[in-house]
């Protein structure tokens, strides 16, 4: 059952089409990944879905409620962790969650237990009475996730939840994002421009310049690349090559003294190949296609080339500058 439905959605800012005729569906209880480089239109799509922006054309609905016509119903059904933090830094962690609970009409007698549970869940219970301005980036993110689930939303939006976090914190955050659908019975809609993070998603849509260029499960998408690549070095590459070609009917190439071939289920193929060839095998490695390869194939560009690694730093610097000069 799709809980999010988006049909031919477009959003134009002046001359710029940020979201261009986008359609997709997300099934209840799954993790959906919305992938794309910076400026692809991910946040704009989320803003439309969570009723902060109205679309220029097209339709979107969540849990059966139209995002334009029934904003109040949609708002009740969703929780959001925005790309930039939206906590009140001058309040404590507990007070931030309390503010949220009141805004979402959580029953007075359940409020405390729900807030405590959420704080335990993200490992911030001990820090509940600290002002948020004393929190690290990772703690703020976790607190925002806790806040997002207090009112038991049916869909939780996470816009670049790991942006700007160190690898360790990123890994921890992922661990409990992946646990959310089962524990809290919620559908996850997340965006990221780190393609490798999207491997855990049940389904994925890749967006570039406002258009969806590919969608499916991570496995399906990677299959479009043509499968895994096996690299083998043997005592006699020439002979091994002709044997593999003859026995398996696969095309084998050679590069840098190493044979390589593309096949589905590479891990299962390796033992077969080693058993079949007479030459001594010196090394074997298996390379699985990544979502980066998918993006590369679809657009002819590496996503990393587009993002440039310093965008977060620049954003932070600009904000700091504006703060100083106000």
């Amino acid at each position: 059952m799709p809980i999010i439905k988006v049909e031919n959605l477009s959003k134009t800012f002046d001359a710029l089409t940020a979201v261009d005729n986008v359609s997709f569906e997300v099934d209840e209880g799954t993790i959906f990944g919305f992938l794309g480089p910076n400026g692809a239109g991910k946040t704009t799509t989320i803003n439309i879905l969570c009723t902060l922006l109205s679309p220029t054309s097209g339709k979107a609905s969540i849990a059966g409620h139209d995002c334009v016509k029934e904003p109040s119903e949609v708002r009740k059904a969703i929780g959001i962790v925005f790309q930039d933090t939206t906590l009140d830094k001058d309040l404590t962690a507990y007070e931030n969650l309390m503010l949220h609970a009141y805004l979402y009409d959580v029953k007075r007698n359940e409020m405390k237990s729900r807030i405590d549970d959420a704080l335990y869940f993200v490992g911030l219970y001990e820090r509940r009475d600290d002002l948020v301005k004393k929190f690290s980036g990772g703690m703020k993110r976790r607190l925002e996730v806790a806040r997002g689930i207090i009112h038991r939303p049916r869909v939780l939006f996470l816009d670049e939840p790991t942006l700007g976090l160190d690898p360790q914190t990123r890994a921890n955050l992922w661990e409990f994002i992946v646990g959310l659908p089962k524990k809290h019975n919620v559908t996850i809609f997340m965006t990221t421009h780190y393609m490798e993070e999207a491997e855990v998603c049940d389904s994925i849509a890749i967006i570039d310049k406002g258009k969806i260029i590919a969608s499916g499960t991570p496995e399906e998408l990677k299959k479009t690349i043509g499968g895994d690549v096996i690299y083998i070095r043997t005592s006699d590459n020439e002979k091994a090559r002709s044997e593999i070609e003859k026995l398996f009917g696969l095309e084998v190439s050679e590069k840098d003294n190493e044979l390589f071939l593309t096949t589905l289920k590479g891990d299962a193929c390796i033992p077969e190949i080693i058993k079949a060839i007479g030459e001594k095998v010196l090394s074997v490695r298996l390379q699985r296609p990544t979502l980066n390869d998918v993006f590369l194939k679809m657009t002819g560009k590496q996503i990393r080339e587009i993002n440039g690694s310093s965008d977060d730093t620049i954003r932070e610097a600009v904000r700091a500058y504006r703060r100083r000069h106000s």
Partner: protein, 251 residues
């Protein structure tokens, strides 16, 4: 119920932060006292408003009006902070009506202003200014109406600005003219004609006038009947809340 909760929690948040920032109460109290004694004290030698009182007494309602003006505007302008630092988004995606958000914000500005007014009134006996006992609740009542009106006007202003750079323009082009064109420093009747007309579209003029009614009572220093003052404050408050509610709608 959810709307009442939302109004309550927005007020609670602002009051909590107000109490936490101890410096804010002190600095907002310092301004009116400085004005009262430096400006009022200095000008008392130069001008006499007649009407059987000194200049320092004459400007006292105006100084209260100034306290309410600054404190209410500051409170509403904090919405720009909330936009810049993100919390506004969290509030806007909550399933509450935009009017509850406006009313919650306006009431928190109002309550903070009334608290400050009350503290100034408490200080009066120590400053040698006498106030009749009945004037106190009367003054606080008027302060409440005026503060609500200015706070909701402040919210409209805040919805037009996205960042804090605009803060000084708001002060220079909106707040200061409102103050000087309000009858706080001189009777509106004595203003040149053009300024007099401008004063009459300034809600603060009617608030200060109502404060003059409340503080001087029998002494006829006011410019308009009390009925007019209160009517203008109430009607403009309603209009401001409606405009502010709509200006919060999504783009």
């Amino acid at each position: 119920m959810i709307e009442v909760n939302a109004v309550y929690v927005l007020i609670a948040r602002d009051l909590k932060k107000f109490v936490r920032e101890k410096g804010r109460l002190v600095s907002t109290l310092a301004r009116p006292l400085i004005w009262l004694f430096l400006v009022g004290g200095g000008m008392s030698r130069l001008v006499s408003p007649g009407m059987g009182m000194s200049y320092i007494q004459f400007i006292f309602p105006g100084i209260l009006g100034m306290t309410i003006l600054f404190s209410s505007i500051f409170s509403s302008i904090s919405i720009i902070w909330d936009k810049e630092f993100g919390l506004m988004k969290e509030i806007l995606v909550a399933p509450v009506s935009r009017f509850s958000i406006v009313i919650g914000k306006a009431l928190s500005g109002t309550i903070i202003s009334v608290i400050q007014t009350a503290v100034i009134l408490l200080l009066l006996p120590f400053l040698g200014i006498k106030l009749s006992f009945l004037s106190v609740p009367y003054t606080l009542g008027v302060a409440f109406l005026l503060a609500f009106c200015i706070s909701s006007l402040g919210i409209i202003i805040a919805t037009f600005f996205e960042n804090l750079e605009s803060f000084s323009s708001i002060m220079n082009f909106i707040v200061m003219p409102m103050f000087f064109l309000s009858g706080a420093m001189y009777p509106v009747q004595k203003l040149p004609e053009i300024l007099r007309h401008l004063a009459k579209i300034n809600p603060l003029t009617f608030g200060v006038d109502a404060l003059k009614h409340a503080i001087f009572r029998e002494n006829h220093v006011y410019d308009f009947p009390l009925f007019t003052d209160l009517g203008v404050l109430i009607i403009s408050s309603i209009v401001f809340v409606v405009i502010a509610g709509f200006s919060f709608e999504r783009k």
